[in-house]
């Protein structure tokens, strides 16, 4: 049973948490503009790495906050937990070294050259407010 650090409550047993899958899957701003393959990539394809994995956890039986965890999928060792406020839009932890190289993923039948173009942010970006700054960084 994993020992997970909730950024708000501290270290707690895994049974208090629920799992939310890969972190940094950003909902496309305009789903209608996507091809079937691009939409399928957002919907179904996950990185599933043999090694470092950024994932979402929810402190379901505690403060009910969602947060990010960097966990090794082989050793199950947890490198760190981070709040989503601190994460960049791809879900990477603050100060993460793994960078875009590790984040790049294979795409099946995608016409788009850059794997991340489909992953622009909805919500914050669509609204012209200050919280969108992180999203702008992603697009540079």
């Amino acid at each position: 049973m994993l020992l997970i650090e909730c950024p708000w409550c501290g270290f707690r047993a895994e049974t208090e948490f629920s799992y939310g899958g890969e972190a940094g899957i950003v909902r496309p701003a305009d789903p209608d503009a996507l091809s079937d393959a691009e939409w399928a990539d957002y919907l179904f394809y996950r990185r599933n790495p043999r090694g470092a994995h950024r994932e979402l956890w929810n402190h379901a039986a505690g403060c009910r906050r969602w947060f990010g965890v960097e966990r090794d999928a082989v050793t199950y060792r947890i490198e760190r937990s981070y709040t989503l406020n601190d994460a960049d839009p791809a879900g990477r932890a603050p100060g993460s070294e793994s960078g875009t190289e590790a984040h790049r993923r294979s795409r099946v039948g995608s016409p788009a050259g850059d794997g991340d173009t489909a992953r622009v942010r909805s919500g914050a970006d669509a609204k012209d407010d200050s919280t969108a700054n992180a999203g702008a960084g992603e697009q540079q």
């Binding site: 049973m1 994993l2 020992l3 047993a13 629920s18 939310g20 950003v26 909902r27 305009d30 789903p31 209608d32 996507l34 079937d36 939409w39 399928a40 919907l43 979402l56 929810n58 379901a60 009910r64 906050r65 969602w66 050793t75 199950y76 947890i78 989503l84 406020n85 909805s122 919500g123 914050a124 609204k127 407010d129 919280t131």
Partner: protein, 1067 residues
């Protein structure tokens, strides 16, 4: 030696001779002493035959003295309290114990299956796979016969009457194993200020020292153990657990320990009460009666008489069945816990579980009377039992010489030590000779005579080639063969934790190397051989575990042990025989699974190379053995046969559990009424008083129907549904999920969640809403009511309440944190009643409502706050039955009063309470779906003809998926109604639908029935179904495939059966 216990030595051992205990073995009365195990008591009573082997039915005796024992697998107790598959070596003897052999029919002395041994040549590796494979249809008969004859004990025939509990604990250092290394490590850690848990599976700490005559600090080793335990008890943060096996090592240094706490009953302690904090519970040391004291010195509350009326397992008879709650039993006394599961999160783990002595692999090495050397020393030194009168020792290492000396000191005749090594032993060799024991160096035992018990052995000169033949030249009569093939470290937990193993060519074993989790191995489990090495290893492991900031460091020093030099162990994996390896008498590697050298060789010949495959083909290391006794010998024989080195072959994977763990302790307190939470509505007692059977829906107990005058389900449902259609009915719908959603951005948020145009809803309006997963499939449905510009009341399905809230929260937190929306679950704070039927408005009028209820003032799909019978309510004009209906939301503490008022006011309209079954019938008559019944996660709103709910003006979750090619297929299953021409048969839900009645298998299926009821108002059955391309197929006939009947034709119709234009709800 007494007549009752012919093999009991006149003195010695750690047993209490003033406390004789009576027990039975296969119905025969026997006697032992407190402190015995069942195994030591059986040997004391002269019992040598304890079972028949699994496959070949050979007679078997006790081989080991601990968890590795392969043969003495017992059935304890009877009836509900029966416990199968317990090694006799791990059963504390207690008064009244009833033990039986598990294998051998009709009895161990004469077993009909013994024919298997005579024809054993046919029963080699993979025999079952090969023989019982064909014809396939016969397998069910084979399986029955095999299971019948291969019994491994019998499961209890009634629910377990005992209590179990779970405890959570945290510590800086968990030490698994309380032998010399574990004690030394625990002491070092505790004296450094660490919080320590020390767990050992035996009744006493000491490990190998319990059965040895070695000395520490110039005194018997057990005196050092006593001093060490006293020092550990001085530390408030040190918990000592005996009878406690660390059986599994999980992720992040989480380990589970099973503590056997009520055996024997005399050791019942205050620490075993339910609900008591386990912290600083240090009275687990020695199993003596003073263990009953509690740390606070209080008396034992509710002491039971645990001496009389035992059921064979030490559980008092006739006591209440179950605890009523976590704090104690119905009578308020402490519950009697049989086993406790400790769930421990440890900073560091020290693995000091010792090692297993290996058997030697020679012909007929499984005869009763062939024992491991360490076991023989344990019988003599710990239990005062002498297992034979005339012994031969067969060894490839020095340690077995100690057993020879122990035997001689105890008065047995040691005919010879047969040592495969040309150089023999070092100092222990001279000591043995001083005892007058003959030592035959460079020799091996090639065969054993005797069938039910050892009668003698043959000895041959050993030339160094395991696979050549030898000529036995010496025969010796004896009744005990003591064997030692060296030691294998118990690396199970290290391996379970993901640690690696490496073969050590000098120590001849797999040793733990790299750990994946914070743990360190110590002692014999780490390859230490002498007592001195074990203690030193424990000391350094203890220091390593506490070498981090915050702890003060240790002053513990090494005790003095007279070290004696030993000669290296010789690799002797298979002992040569007079005939070649495939024709000589059986040489057993795994006693429990009857795996022999010839089986491993056969597997290799048939192409098995991978050790995991060989394991499964030959059953090596199956059962309770789990690689304890035969693993290394088996790997080595396989390696030899394949011409490989042992590390190339490798070892099999170690998985939990290390020893068998009862189902009871796994379940803990979560049994019976504590198995699952029960959720009751505020009206629950009224429903019960009305005699309503309950239906469990997502832990809620909901009234199913309200039978009147002996009605059955069908009669009651017909009456209830006609009441709603013709007058008025009342249903408790409180279990509906209720979520308050508010905030400046609530409309924007709900627009993204729900599929319809939420923003168009005016304050005071209700709307039916559905939400989809991003894959476009229907996830949940309910009613949205706009209570204010920035406030909505959302309802969800009963089962979806929690998951919908999670879903909404996840989007708000992870994707749209900029939206200012606040969600609050109100499911339990508010109760909901559905008042449905043409007379429902009259009931409210009679009760007195402060708002106008007429059709124009309060139209269908509107919501109003109101005072009803002087109580504040929220009224919703929504209908799940298609009738004029009101849903009444009221604070739960007022709910029962309101319910009673409604029933009273409705009396003159024959108001009828109705349950979930009638609710289902009414909604099915209207074609309203139930998410999770008519849908299954693969159904889109388009499949359900809900296109009118899908907004074209906005995006919403799942919308894009509805354009995926798969969602546009013409042959998707779509919701339809079905009617049967006979107007009588109610199709079972789940019935498969087919196109052609006379198709031959495999029959293609074109759909299935999702809802099916008898409609009282229509007078015939109605059916909802999902049918391939169904919407375009109105009027077509398809067929329902029914078991034991011909397929029945059914007609595809529209899925609305009653009031198709929906007039009745608008009145």
């Amino acid at each position: 030696m007494t007549a009752a216990q012919p093999n009991r030595l006149p003195q010695g051992g750690r047993i209490d001779r003033t406390r004789p205990l009576a027990f039975t073995f296969d119905g025969k009365a026997c006697e032992g002493y407190a402190g015995d195990t069942l195994a030591s008591a059986l040997i004391a009573n002269g019992v040598s035959l304890v079972g028949r082997s699994f496959k070949l039915r050979r007679p078997r005796g006790i081989v080991g003295s601990g968890a590795e024992e392969p043969n003495a697998i017992m059935q304890l107790g009877e009836g509900a309290a029966a416990e199968p598959n317990v090694p006799a070596t791990q059963v504390e003897l207690r008064d009244g114990l009833v033990a039986r052999t598990t294998r051998g029919w009709p009895g161990v002395r004469f077993d009909v299956g013994v024919i298997n041994d005579v024809f054993g040549r046919m029963l080699g590796a993979g025999f079952y796979y090969k023989t019982f494979m064909y014809p396939r249809s016969w397998w069910k008969y084979y399986e029955h016969a095999i299971r019948q004859s291969a019994g491994f004990g019998r499961a209890p025939d009634a629910p377990d009457p005992d209590n179990y509990e779970h405890m959570n604990a945290h510590c800086d250092v968990l030490v698994a194993g309380g032998g010399p290394a574990g004690l030394m490590a625990a002491l070092t850690a505790a004296e450094s200020g660490a919080r320590v848990i020390l767990a050992d599976e035996q009744t006493e700490f000491g490990g190998s020292l319990l059965g040895s005559a070695e000395r520490i600090d110039g005194a018997p080793a057990m005196e050092w153990v006593a001093v060490t335990l006293a020092r550990l008890r001085d530390h408030a943060d040190c918990k000592l657990l005996t009878r406690s096996t660390v059986f599994a090592y999980h992720d992040h240094n989480f380990l589970t320990i099973v503590e056997r706490c009520t055996d024997p009953p005399e050791t019942f302690r205050e620490g075993t009460q339910i609900g008591r904090s386990g912290v600083d519970d240090r009275h687990f040391d020695d199993g003596k009666p003073e263990g009953r004291r509690g740390p606070s010195g209080r008396d034992q509350p509710g002491e039971h008489d645990r001496r009389g009326g035992h059921d064979g397992r030490g559980a008092p008879a006739g006591r209440p069945h179950r605890v009523s709650n976590a704090a104690g039993r119905h009578d308020g006394s402490a519950a009697h816990i049989r086993e406790r599961l400790w769930r421990v999160r440890a900073g560091q783990v020290i693995l000091a579980q010792g090692s297993f002595e290996r058997p030697l692999v020679f012909c007929n090495n499984d005869r009763p009377g062939v024992m491991l050397a360490s076991a023989v020393s344990t019988w003599i030194n710990r239990y005062g039992v002498l297992p034979g009168r005339r012994a031969v020792i067969f060894t490839n290492n020095d340690s077995a010489y100690r057993s020879a000396i122990d035997l001689a000191d105890a008065g047995a005749e040691v005919a010879a030590i047969v040592d495969s090594r040309r150089g023999g032993a070092a100092e222990l060799g001279s000591r043995a000779r001083e005892h007058g024991i003959a030592v035959l160096e460079g020799h091996v035992v090639s065969d054993v005579a005797g069938r039910q018990h050892v009668r003698g052995i043959s000895i041959a000169r050993w030339h160094g080639d395991s696979w050549a033949t030898v000529s036995p030249t010496i025969r010796i009569d004896c009744d005990l063969v003591v064997m030692s093939g060296g030691y294998s470290p118990a690396v199970h937990l290290h391996s379970q934790a993901g640690g690696r193993l490496a073969w050590d060519e000098t120590r001849l074993g797999f040793l733990p190397t790299e750990s994946r989790q914070p743990n360190v191995s110590a002692g014999a489990g780490n390859g230490s051989r002498s007592l001195e090495e074990c203690l030193a290893d424990g000391l350094s492991a203890g220091k390593e575990a506490v070498s981090r900031p915050g702890l003060k460091g240790t002053t513990v020093v090494m005790p003095t042990v007279s070290a004696s030099a030993e000669n290296p162990t010789e690799a002797l994996w298979r002992v040569p025989a007079a005939k070649d390896p495939d024709r000589c008498a059986k040489q057993f590697i795994d006693f429990q699974n009857d795996t022999t050298v010839a089986d491993i060789r056969l597997a290799a010949r048939e192409g098995y190379r991978n050790v995991e495959h060989v394991k499964r083909y030959t059953a090596l290391g199956f059962g309770t053995d789990q690689g304890k006794l035969g693993n290394i010998n088996g790997m080595a024989v396989l390696a030899d046969t394949l011409g490989k080195a042992i590390p190339e072959v490798g070892t099999t994977t170690f998985r939990p559990a290390y020893t068998p763990v009862s189902f009871g302790v796994g379940a803990g307190e979560s049994v019976g009424e504590l198995y699952e939470p029960v959720r009751k509505t505020a009206i629950h007692e009224w429903h019960e008083a009305a005699g309503a059977p309950m239906e469990v829906v997502g832990q809620w107990h909901r009234p199913w129907y309200f039978p009147r005058d002996g009605e059955d389900l069908h009669a009651a449902v017909a009456r209830e549904s006609l009441a709603v259609r013709n007058s008025v009915g009342l249903m408790d719908a409180s279990t509906l999920g209720k979520i308050d959603a508010c905030g400046p951005d609530v409309v924007e948020f709900l627009e993204r969640i729900y599929t319809h145009d939420v923003g168009r809803m005016k304050v005071g309006r209700c709307g039916y809403g559905i939400m989809l997963g991003e894959d476009g499939m229907l996830m949940d449905d309910g009613v949205l009511a706009r209570l204010g510009e920035q406030r909505f009341h959302l309802t969800t399905t009963t089962g979806g309440a929690a998951s919908v809230l999670n879903w909404l929260e996840k989007w708000l937190q992870t994707e749209w944190p900029e939206l200012r929306v606040y969600l609050t679950s109100l499911t339990e704070q508010y109760s909901t009643f559905a008042l449905a039927g043409p007379d429902s408005r009259k009931v409210l009028d009679k009760l007195g409502c402060d708002i106008p209820l007429d059709r124009d003032s309060f139209p269908f799909m509107n919501v109003r706050p109101a005072m009803l019978a002087g109580m504040p309510v929220t009224l919703f004009r929504v209908s799940f039955s298609g009738e004029l209906a009101f849903e009444i939301n009221i604070a739960s503490n007022l709910a029962l009063a309101m319910w009673n008022k409604l029933m009273e006011a409705g009396q003159r309209f024959d108001i009828t309470p109705y349950g979930t079954e009638t609710m289902h019938v009414l909604r099915a008559e209207k074609g309203f779906v139930i998410v999770g019944q008519d849908t299954d996660g693969s159904v889109t709103p388009v499949d359900l003809r809900m296109n009118w709910l899908l907004s074209r003006n906005k995006d919403f979750l799942g919308k894009r998926s509805l354009r995926r090619p798969d969602c546009l297929r013409k042959d998707r299953k779509q919701l339809v109604g079905l009617l049967s021409p006979d107007a009588r048969t109610v199709l079972p839900e789940g019935t498969q639908l087919i196109e052609e009645p006379a198709s031959r298998p495999p029959v293609p299926m074109c759909g299935h029935v999702t809802s099916s009821y008898q409609s009282a108002v229509l007078g015939h059955p109605i059916t909802l179904a999902l049918v391939t391309g169904g919407r375009a197929r109105r009027g077509e006939m398809i067929y329902a495939a029914l078991p034991e009947r011909d397929p029945m034709p059914v007609e595809i119709v529209a899925p609305v059966f009653y009031d198709a234009d929906g007039q009745r709800q608008h009145v």
